[in-house]
């Protein structure tokens, strides 16, 4: 036994010595910036012939259908970029990880991808991005967040596209006042789901109602609630003149469908996440086609812009079996914004994280041919305050057509976003 102890002790010492010299450890190189053969400074995720771009998506969780469209949209963009010779003479290599809308999985995915990604072309969800916010703030790469909560503002490395939930709703309520004849003293209903999305939307309707002299009738629902008859009854009893919906697509179908059968014939305005084209194949379709509108910052797939037509055609050619929804557009534009930031950083000969973020933050008017001009220079502000008013249409690509072009109402421009 004594001899064994000596042997074990020696083995332990040898192992410790191994640790001490960090023999063969790839980590010992240190991650400081190097300069490529073409004189471009290279940060994490960039080599002489590739640029790795991370994507953290939801492919198995509650937003899986949308997540799939988003990821395929982004991949389509990078394929086209690579076919055209890549960026900075380098091939772009997308790295996709699924987090199933789970916080721990997104932290793990971020931990794995961050050291080898030059940027994140998309990262879905406000809670999931929020979970790595501190890391992103300290030394994170440029990250295009797909969520519209104000809690994502105020960080130089996190970029939201479009505008916040509240501003969408303010523009929507403004539309009700201007086009649907609502007057001071009228009541408007707001059905919202608990959490970021609902709370911020409600802040928007309350602000707009106060400015316009409306009264808000609130109804909070859980994400898991399926039947909205109770909410319809409350709205009917209160005598509301219009209802704002910040809920899930399924809940929207229930709400609008029940409202028609109960005789609540008022305009419905849905936040951008309250509608999915699949709803038009459900029994709620006639009700949706009649009195329902969607407030959305991004241009719909149905718009006449040449860039949009090309995107729709390319996506159909690549993924003929998949539904075209807003996710395609969202994924493609976030990838395009990332791509343009990389190109600009390349022109500045600086593909380090700092270089990419600075290049991105120096862009004050980006539209990529998609109709919404975005300003990325202010970290405390969403890149735009404009909102489209759309209406469901069975024949339209993506199920939505434009009723009012993107506008930023005076109300929305005067709204002060509370940062966390």
């Amino acid at each position: 036994m004594n001899r064994f102890r000596v042997r074990a002790g020696t083995a332990g010492l040898v192992l410790l010595a191994l640790a001490a010299t960090s023999c063969g450890s790839g980590k010992a190189t240190g991650g400081s910036a190097q300069t490529g053969s073409d004189g471009v400074k290279q940060g994490p995720g960039v080599t002489d012939d590739t640029i790795s771009v991370g994507m953290i998506s939801d492919l198995t969780g509650p937003y899986a259908p949308l997540g799939k469209s988003i990821t395929q949209g982004s991949q389509l963009y990078f394929e086209q970029v690579n076919a055209a010779g890549g960026i900075c003479g380098r091939k772009v290599e997308p790295l996709v990880r699924d987090m199933g809308y789970d916080v721990q999985k997104s932290v793990t995915a971020y931990t794995e991808l961050a050291p080898k990604s030059a940027a994140f072309a998309h990262f879905i969800g406000s809670v999931t991005v929020g979970a790595v916010r501190q890391r992103l703030d300290t030394d994170g790469p440029l990250t295009l967040a797909l969520a519209w909560a104000p809690s994502l503002l105020g960080s130089k490395s996190i970029q939201m596209t479009g505008t916040t939930y509240a501003i969408d709703v303010i523009n929507g309520v403004d539309y009700l006042a201007k086009e649907k004849g609502l007057k001071s003293g009228d009541k408007i209903g707001h059905v919202y789901v608990e959490g970021d999305y609902g709370i911020d939307s409600l802040a928007g309707s309350k602000y707009a109602a106060e400015k316009l002299g409306f009264q808000v009738v609130e109804q909070k629902v859980k994400a898991t609630d399926a039947d909205m008859s109770g909410q319809v009854a409350v709205m009917k009893d209160a005598g509301v003149k219009a209802v704002v919906l910040s809920i899930s697509p399924k809940q929207t179908a229930s709400m609008v469908g029940v409202a028609v059968s109960k005789g609540l014939n008022v305009p419905f305005l849905g936040s951008n996440s309250s509608f999915a084209p699949q709803l038009l194949a459900t029994p709620a379709a006639p009700a949706l086609l009649k009195g329902f509108h969607v407030m959305q910052s991004a241009s719909p797939l149905n718009s006449d812009l040449p860039a949009m037509k090309k995107l729709v055609a390319d996506y159909r050619a690549k993924y003929p079996k998949d539904t075209l929804d807003n996710g395609v557009m969202a994924g493609y534009t976030t990838a395009a914004i990332t791509g343009d930031a990389l190109k600009k950083a390349c022109a500045n000969k600086d593909l380090t994280r700092q270089g990419i973020i600075s290049a991105h933050r120096s862009t004050s008017a980006w539209d990529g041919g998609f109709g919404t001009t975005m300003d990325f220079t202010k970290i405390d502000e969403p890149p735009t305050r404009t909102t489209h008013i759309l209406q469901p249409d069975k024949t339209a690509v993506g199920g939505l057509k434009i009723v009012r072009e993107a506008t930023a109402s005076d109300l929305a421009n005067g709204y002060k976003i509370a940062l966390h």
């Binding site: 036994m1 064994f4 102890r5 074990a8 083995a11 332990g12 192992l15 410790l16 191994l18 640790a19 001490a20 010299t21 960090s22 063969g24 450890s25 790839g26 980590k27 010992a28 240190g30 991650g31 994507m55 998506s57 492919l59 198995t60 799939k68 990821t71 395929q72 991949q75 996709v96 990880r97 699924d98 199933g100 916080v103 721990q104 932290v107 793990t108 931990t111 794995e112 961050a114 050291p115 406000s126 809670v127 929020g130 979970a131 790595v132 916010r133 501190q134 890391r135 300290t138 030394d139 909560a149 809690s151 608990e194 959490g195 970021d196 709370i199 993924y319 966390h420």
Partner: protein, 357 residues
């Protein structure tokens, strides 16, 4: 002798890992070690004493949020006490114990499935409070977690530290902290299980009346074990919070508690080793599969159509769980001891006398 070799090898691995593996693996390891601490706690309760708890996640939440609240400075609408972080961590574990203590009048009287249902209520209560008590919990978005700082040594990425040419960030530092905490937690639980309390707990599990007749204060033991297991939950919560750097209410839901039950069933009920093995299995397998399933046949790259690695890993994980439950009645730990017997080929197992052949 073989035991000593295993000990030395494990110790060496624990020291070497941070020098070689990337942050992803360290993070996975830290999560697994936090899970192991929590699983030891629930194994004391469910495995050793036979008290089913579905509310373990609640005590993790108390630990995590307790630490954040006690150690953060109050800023804006978020409150905080701004205590030194090690003190906050200890108090947070104490807080989880107090929460368990408040529940112990119920935990002392109920048993089995009834206690399971009563503890289920804790999850719903906890979720409601976490989402709505904004000044303490930060609501839906949660709160940032201040890094632990002991005698001027900070467990975070900055200030940067170089150890023998390897940059030591938050993950590397936390790895060593987690190893130390897991060792301490395991050592304490072993002491409890191998001593008088352990025998009393097992008797309560196997035959409550007999335990009472022999003079074991059954209700007091049940309540006491419940408090102890909540404190383990609280420590796991603090460790998870330090690893996440942000607490979010969603994490501490129903699924987390079920995961903990899965860990001890898979690992082996009633022992420290079982809890650790199960925790490693449940928290590492999905990540291993997600990371390497693109090497398996029939799997497409994520987002490219076909079975994604995430889906495949879920199926494989499910198959693994079913296999363990069906074919390994003693859990992973039972497999180890059976394998040891088969190798030795001598010691007959009471349930399988033929092995003595």
């Amino acid at each position: 002798m073989s035991k000593a070799i295993i000990t030395v090898a494990t110790a060496a691995a624990a020291v070497l890992v941070p020098f070689y593996l990337e942050a992803f693996w360290l993070m996975a390891g830290i999560f697994a070690m936090s899970a192991a601490v929590g699983a030891i706690g629930i194994n004391l309760l469910t495995g050793a004493t036979g008290q089913l708890s579905m509310g373990h996640g609640f005590f993790l939440a108390v630990g995590a949020y307790g630490y954040v609240y006690l150690s953060s400075d109050s800023a804006g609408h978020l409150g905080g006490l701004g205590l030194p972080t090690p003190l906050a961590a200890v108090l947070a574990i104490g807080l989880a114990g107090v929460a368990g203590g408040l529940f112990s009048p119920i935990a002392g009287r109920l048993k089995g499935a009834y206690l399971g249902i009563a503890t289920l209520a804790l999850i719903f209560l906890g979720q409601h409070v976490l989402f709505n008590a904004e000044p303490v919990t930060g609501g839906y978005n949660g709160r940032p977690v201040p890094p632990l700082e002991i005698f001027g040594f900070t467990f975070a990425d900055s200030p940067e530290l170089m150890v023998l040419g390897v940059p030591f960030g938050g993950a590397e530092k936390l790895w060593f902290l987690a190893v130390a905490l897991l060792l301490a937690a395991a050592w304490f639980a072993r002491g409890v299980l191998h001593g008088r309390p352990g025998r009393a707990m097992n008797t309560i599990r196997d035959h409550e009346t007999a335990a009472g007749v022999m003079g074991v204060p059954v209700a007091r033991y049940r309540a006491g074990v419940f408090v102890l297991s909540s404190m383990y939950g609280g420590l796991a919560g603090v460790m998870v919070a330090l690893a996440f750097q942000q607490t979010v209410p969603e994490y501490f839901g129903m699924l987390l508690s079920l995961d903990y039950l899965a860990m001890i069933v898979i690992g082996g009920l009633g022992s420290v080793g079982g809890a650790v093995a199960g925790a490693a299995f449940v928290s590492l397998l999905p990540q291993l599969l997600t990371r390497y399933s693109d090497a398996l046949p029939l799997i497409a790259a994520p987002g490219a159509g076909g079975y994604s690695p995430a889906e495949a890993s879920r199926m494989l994980y499910g198959i693994a769980v079913v296999t363990v439950v069906l074919f390994l009645p003693g859990g992973l730990l039972g497999l180890v001891s059976r394998a040891r017997q088969a190798l030795a080929g001598k010691v007959p197992h009471p349930s399988n006398p033929r092995s003595a052949r």
